[in-house]
């Protein structure tokens, strides 16, 4: 069988803030069509790692390669233009615009007006945002705002998707729907999902990467990580 192609690679990636080593010498590879989960205690460096991958931060050292192209130090819009979508941990939405307008801005980046309109309508349905399509996003409940952001990500039809705590603050039903959506997205895209919710991770993932103090502690299935004494101590122990 042919080895799946590596679509994303970090080589010795480091991001230091003064003395804080938020990300420290990370080597990471992701294969095409994977659905990878990233876990780790608060402050482990997961979000900072995402920011380095998407150009929001310029890494102190190391390289980021997307489909074998070195993209270290590129602007966020250049990374986005490669077909990479990200949902950030702190929601980044256009507060004063409506749900539809938010999603349209994303769809219109890639499509002519007619297609952008239908894609917007489809995305609104897909994320079950029909009831709030004309409401300013600033007035929506937290879970719905998360979905609007997710809608913006999927409306751009990216092939590589990074989701930073997509189910945070959601009700149980919303979480289940989000897990379904992630599976759907995975049929056309490669994903990395950061989550703290173990049940959620069991719902979606095969391979899990455990971050700790800016580095990768281990990479395995959720079962294996749950069984590992060290992992339990630094992470699962805190949360149980």
């Amino acid at each position: 069988m042919k080895q799946a192609e590596t679509v994303l690679e970090a080589r010795n990636l480091s991001m230091h803030f003064g003395g804080v080593r938020a990300v420290d010498g990370v080597d990471f590879t992701l294969s095409e069509n994977e659905l990878r989960c990233l876990i780790g205690p608060n402050g482990a460096g997961k979000s900072t790692f995402f920011k380095c991958l998407t150009g929001q931060l310029r890494p102190t050292a190391g390289e980021v390669l997307i489909r074998d192209v070195n993209v270290t130090g590129r602007e966020p819009h250049e990374i986005g233009a490669l077909g990479v979508g990200i949902k950030t941990q702190v929601p980044n939405v256009f507060e004063g615009l409506t749900t539809e307008e938010n999603i349209w801005i994303s769809a219109r980046r890639w499509h002519r007006p007619a297609r952008a309109r239908t894609l917007t309508a489809e995305t609104v349905e897909r994320l079950r945002l029909g009831d709030v399509r004309s409401d300013p996003v600033g007035q929506l409940a937290h879970g719905q705002r998360q979905w609007v952001e997710l809608g913006m990500v999927v409306a751009a039809e990216p092939w590589l998707v990074l989701l930073d705590e997509p189910a945070a603050g959601m009700t149980h039903e919303e979480t289940v729907r989000t897990a379904e959506l992630i599976q759907e997205i995975n049929s056309t895209a490669t994903l990395i999902v950061v989550e703290h919710d173990m049940q959620f991770i069991r719902m979606i993932s095969r391979k899990v990467t455990l971050f700790h103090e800016g580095g990768i502690l281990m990479e395995d299935t959720m079962e294996a990580i749950s069984a590992d004494a060290r992992a339990r101590q630094i992470y699962l122990g805190h949360r149980a």
Binding site: T54, Q56, E75, P76, H77, E78, G80, A81, G85, I86, T88, N92, V93, F94, E95, G96, L97, T98, E100, E101, W104, I105, S106, R108, R109, P113, R117, T120, A121, S134, E149, M152, A156
Partner: protein
């Protein structure tokens, strides 16, 4: 996608503006019509700031730099060419080109919002002191003497291509009014285009816009230059209305009143700041004839009142009130309808 508010409102306002244009010379004093051309120039300045700040989210404290450059460029070009035909596009281009250079360093250098306000204001004030130092026969561009703090003569408008056919003041008023209406319709259209919507999105959240693969530097530079071009056009009509350009176009108080117009009229609307310009100009003009109250003091009080009591500005606040009444009416109708449908269950 349904447009939240289509261009119908814009066209209604444009029609009202045209009505005013036709009626004003019939009912207003000749002198008032002359001053109005000047105020229209200022209103175009307000419109440009409404676009750049209200929609682009760029607090350009020194929008007057482009306004003044437009005014000076017009005066100098018209004096040299001997006519207004080519001078107007030159004024617009000079303002836009200056904004291109300044904006390039600001946006591609990722200067923060606060510094942008300070830098643009500083640029306006530098132009103020530079132009004030141009008295003396050596400060001459072609045939145009810059004239230091006395300023330079701004030739009147003429019929395009015919420098001898100088326009009468009421015709200048028509031209200025048409320019204002056209600029307003243009801005209304612009903020509804893809470009305009991306600028609004950038105002709402720069990070998200970038992550959606929009080069925000380019969009900001674009709207900044369009705003500067409009401000330059405003400068043309202002200088024609006054028949002179003096360094005062670059002064601190001129920069401040432009900000006040937008705050009073309302950020996020285009017509608000335009109307505020006329209203506040009328207010200060009528205060100018008495000596009890200082004009700047009154403007300062107006600003404080608005910032504290009507922070959104007049037009958005009125729009909110209308919307509130509409919703109450809908709720009342629905209640009545429900009661009529189920008379036996109602009270």
């Amino acid at each position: 996608m349904r447009l939240p508010r289509d261009l119908r409102g814009t066209l209604v306002i444009a029609a009202l503006g045209s009505g005013f244009m036709l009626v004003a010379p019939e009912v207003l004093a000749f002198f008032t019509i002359i001053t109005l051309s000047q105020v229209i120039g200022l209103a175009i300045l307000a419109l440009s700031l409404a676009l750049v700040w209200g929609f682009g989210g760029i607090l350009c404290f020194g929008q007057t730099a482009f306004f003044g450059l437009g005014a000076y460029a017009y005066a100098v070009a018209a004096t040299n060419i001997g006519g207004s035909t080519g001078a107007i596009p030159i004024a617009i281009l000079v303002a836009a080109a200056f904004a291109a250079v300044l904006g390039y360093f600001i946006f591609y250098g990722r200067v923060s919002d606060v510094y942008l306000a300070i830098i643009t204001l500083t640029v306006a004030l530098i132009l103020y002191s530079l132009t004030r130092r141009t008295s003396g026969p050596e400060y001459k561009i072609g045939n145009a003497l810059l004239g230091g703090f006395n300023g330079t003569t701004a030739p009147p408008l003429n019929i395009p291509g015919d420098p001898q056919a100088v326009l009468f003041p009421e015709h200048t008023f028509y031209v200025a009014m048409i320019a204002l209406i056209a600029a307003y319709v243009f801005c209304s259209w612009l903020v509804r285009t893809h470009f305009g919507r991306v600028c609004i999105a950038i105002r709402e959240n720069e990070t998200r816009a970038e992550l959606l693969a929009y080069d925000i530097r380019l969009y900001k530079l674009g709207i900044f230059m369009i705003g500067a071009a409009l401000a330059g056009l405003g400068g043309v009509f202002f200088s024609v209305g006054v028949s002179r350009v003096t360094p005062d176009v670059f002064s601190l108080s001129q920069a401040a009143v432009a900000i006040i117009w937008v705050i009073v009229g309302g950020r996020g609307t285009l017509i608000g700041p335009v109307l505020a310009t006329f209203a506040l100009h009328y207010l200060t003009a009528s205060l100018g004839t008495q000596s009890i109250l200082n004009t700047n003091l009154v403007l300062g009080i107006v600003l404080i009142i608005f910032v504290l009591l009507v922070p959104k500005g007049v037009v958005p606040t009125l729009a909110d009130l209308v919307e509130l009444r509409r919703q109450r009416r809908i709720a009342r109708l629905r209640e009545r309808w429900l009661r009529a449908r189920r008379p036996h269950t109602g009270r």
